[in-house]
């Protein structure tokens, strides 16, 4: 009963809030850009802006692909351990795609179970390492707030509960419901929290890349800013 609700109307509401909310955040971001305040001529140099912006977003998605990532090898490892699974598993997990197919009549290609398991565990390990790093390093500790831990918990809980359910520890039904609740909670809260970076990362990265592409050097330094 609860399961039917959560994978039916519950899922639909979560996805609407998630995608609708993020689309709204993105729209408001770009609407709020102001060429005079930021001092970037976005419109006259849209092509340069797109080139610089997309290049900047792309480069930072590659593990160790930027000076920044290479300068912090341990954090980069934590980051990609966490994010690779966090992005891929929810979309390509066979269990999720079965539900998608049942409810909406479409699905994404599914990855097989073994890589999905590995990625899910990697995500949790990544999260643990990120927490340990937050505690251990003074320069991260000074920035860290309770909110940061809550966000990390919100993003990791669906994985922890999902793994427990998958391992059939205790009641499968109980943990499955927990997993779905955790996942939907995350989807619903994303647009209203720092998790909005799922979409706003691309906006913010695009903006700085465009700034460098249009105003701060552009073609003078070669194809793009050397991130």
């Amino acid at each position: 009963m609860l399961y039917t609700f959560l994978t039916g109307p519950g899922l639909i509401i979560s996805l609407i809030v998630f995608f609708g909310g993020l689309a709204y955040r993105l729209a408001m971001y770009f609407k709020g850009l102001d060429w005079r305040l930021e001092r970037v001529a976005y419109k006259p140099y849209l092509a340069e802006g797109m080139k610089g912006g997309l290049h900047s977003a792309y480069k930072w998605l590659i593990p160790y692909g930027t000076y920044g990532w290479r300068a912090q090898p341990f954090f980069t490892l934590c980051f990609f351990l966490f994010h690779t699974g966090a992005v891929l598993v929810p979309v390509f997990l066979i269990g999720h795609n079965v539900i998608l197919q049942e409810r909406f009549g479409f699905s994404f290609p599914s990855m097989s179970q073994v890589p999905a398991d590995i990625l899910a565990v990697a995500t949790v390990i990544g999260a643990i390492l990120i927490v340990l790093r937050r505690i251990a390093l003074a320069e991260v500790r000074i920035l860290t707030t309770t909110y940061d831990y809550c966000i990390l918990a919100l993003a990791t809980l669906p994985f922890i509960t999902g793994i427990i359910a998958r391992l059939h520890i205790g009641s499968y039904e109980f943990w499955l419901i927990c997993h779905i609740l955790a996942g939907e909670l995350m989807l619903i809260l994303t647009p209203f929290t720092k998790l909005s970076h799922i979409a706003l990362y691309f906006a913010s990265r695009w903006q700085l890349g465009a700034d460098y592409g249009i105003k701060r050097g552009g073609h003078r330094r070669g194809p793009c800013f050397p991130w």
Partner: protein, 469 residues
């Protein structure tokens, strides 16, 4: 306390007020008044609502507090990795907090923010380069400076600097008459060695209009002469404007955007009046940033470009050497270990690193050019950027900051550093004075003059006669 006599929310706009403020030696009374200056919280909040839009708000919101910016910041590294020097902490605890409190901040908050904005950030923008989200804290600190300036919380020297620009249209008290006189004086003085050398003032439709830094005519007039000699050597049809020649902007360091605009308008008016084919600015970083990169936006040009092509001195010099318009005597090339300082303002922020290296390739004997580590876009600030050099109140912090460049220089093993930027040049001079590492520093102009081949038709006449005899 309401507004002080010197420390207040009103910009300096008259010569009288400027002289009075200058008379307050070291800003003694100024800072004393600042400790009691009221914050107009309503005005501050109104200003934040009007000017802090989605880009900046998103930056502050999505900052993951990951601390990756820490190591990117030379001030963090050089201050024994003090967590309070982490860029994200610096901006979140000042601008971020100001927004969270909706502008309801007190005097102590503002004075702390002032120290952060001018002594813990040089607006080098390196952190933005190392942040996964592309959060550029240098940009935000520059914005914060504007907010602080509008409330009267600005270092004494920068209030004076911005006032200079407002009163004299230059960062120093150099009037148009002083400037034109300096040009005449310098041209005359060079006649013996460089017969026929001119410093043409207000010549319309020239190929090049040259703009510079007021401290050149004020304190280093020979720099004006050197620029003239090199244009003369290259056979350029050039000119300087009688007004609108000052390219720098201490008002940018101060966060006085109105003065910034006025400054740039003055230069662009000279361009419109004299219609040069292009403009070349002197060996200065922030002047380029102010007049070429940010300036078009301050005056509201939608294309973000100056009225005509406006290039940095290193671009002109690279082009001139490449074309053979000035030739370097191979026997005079540099034969000592020499390194190059990349100025944040035109290398990280305008992509000119290839031009300076091209110049080095023409003037340094193979094997003697040593790169700093890191270099180009990744280079560290000289330690005195963003106005840091000129603020007496923060001299100690600035001297600590210089250690980054000191150690970079020492690691190269170089005995000479080419620093085509006034701020970098000053910082390196000061670090040598402070730490005595045995480095010499130079602009490009005197170097090139010392090694250029002077064609016969430009040689002094009596030399020719001697040769004939």
């Amino acid at each position: 306390m309401p507004e002080g006599q010197f420390c207040n929310k009103t910009p300096v706009t008259t010569e009288e007020a400027l002289k009075a403020l200058l008379g307050d030696k070291g800003g003694k009374q100024y800072y004393e008044e600042m400790s009691r200056l009221d914050v107009d919280a309503e005005k501050l909040w109104a200003s934040l609502q009007k000017t802090c839009k989605s880009r900046t708000l998103t930056w502050l919101e999505i900052c993951a507090h990951c601390g990756m910016c820490a190591e990117s910041c030379f001030l963090y590294r050089v201050n024994e990795r003090d967590p309070e020097q982490v860029p994200a902490f610096k901006i979140q605890s000042t601008l971020g907090e100001m927004i969270r409190r909706k502008g309801q901040v007190d005097n102590a908050f503002m004075r702390r923010a002032m120290e952060y904005a001018w002594a813990r950030c040089t607006c080098c923008n390196r952190c933005g380069q190392f942040c996964p989200h592309g959060i550029d804290m240098g940009v935000m600190f520059s914005y914060l400076r504007g907010l602080l300036y509008s409330q009267g919380f600005v270092p004494w020297e920068l209030k004076i600097g911005a006032g200079m620009h407002r009163v004299y249209k230059a960062q120093m008290d150099v009037t148009s008459e002083d400037w034109v006189e300096t040009c005449e004086w310098m041209a005359e003085e060079q006649q013996e060695e460089w017969p026929g050398l001119e410093i043409p003032v207000d010549r319309a439709n020239a190929d090049i209009m040259y703009t510079l830094n007021a401290r050149e005519p004020k304190h280093y007039p020979e720099d004006v002469a050197q620029a003239a000699i090199l244009f003369h050597l290259a056979g350029e049809n050039w000119t300087v404007p009688s007004t609108g020649w000052e390219q720098t902007s201490l008002s940018m360091f101060a966060g006085d955007w109105e003065a910034c605009k006025g400054n740039v308008q003055e230069v662009y008016a000279a361009i419109e009046r004299m219609k040069p084919k292009r403009v070349i600015g002197t060996e200065c970083g922030h002047a380029h940033r102010a007049t070429v990169i940010e300036g078009p936006y301050w005056v509201g040009r939608p294309d973000g470009k100056p009225p005509v092509e406006y290039i940095h001195y290193v671009e002109w010099l690279a082009e001139t050497l490449r074309a053979g318009k000035i030739r370097i005597d191979p026997a005079k090339k540099i034969r000592e270990n020499v390194t190059l300082q990349d100025s944040c303002n035109y290398v990280r922020n305008h992509g000119l690193s290839n031009f300076t290296r091209e110049i080095m390739s023409y003037i340094v004997e193979d094997g003697y050019f040593v790169e700093m580590t890191p270099n180009r876009e990744c280079n560290y600030c000289c330690g005195g950027g963003g106005g840091f050099n000129g603020i007496g109140l923060f001299r100690h912090q600035r001297n600590v900051a210089l250690r980054t460049k000191r150690d970079q220089l020492l690691a190269t093993g170089a005995t000479l550093v080419v620093a085509p930027c006034h701020n970098c040049w000053d910082a390196i001079r000061d670090l040598e004075e402070e730490y005595r590492i045995g480095i010499r520093w130079t602009f490009l102009k005197p170097l090139i003059i010392s090694m250029a081949i002077v064609p016969d038709h430009l040689q002094p006449q009596d030399n020719d006669e001697e040769d004939a005899e």
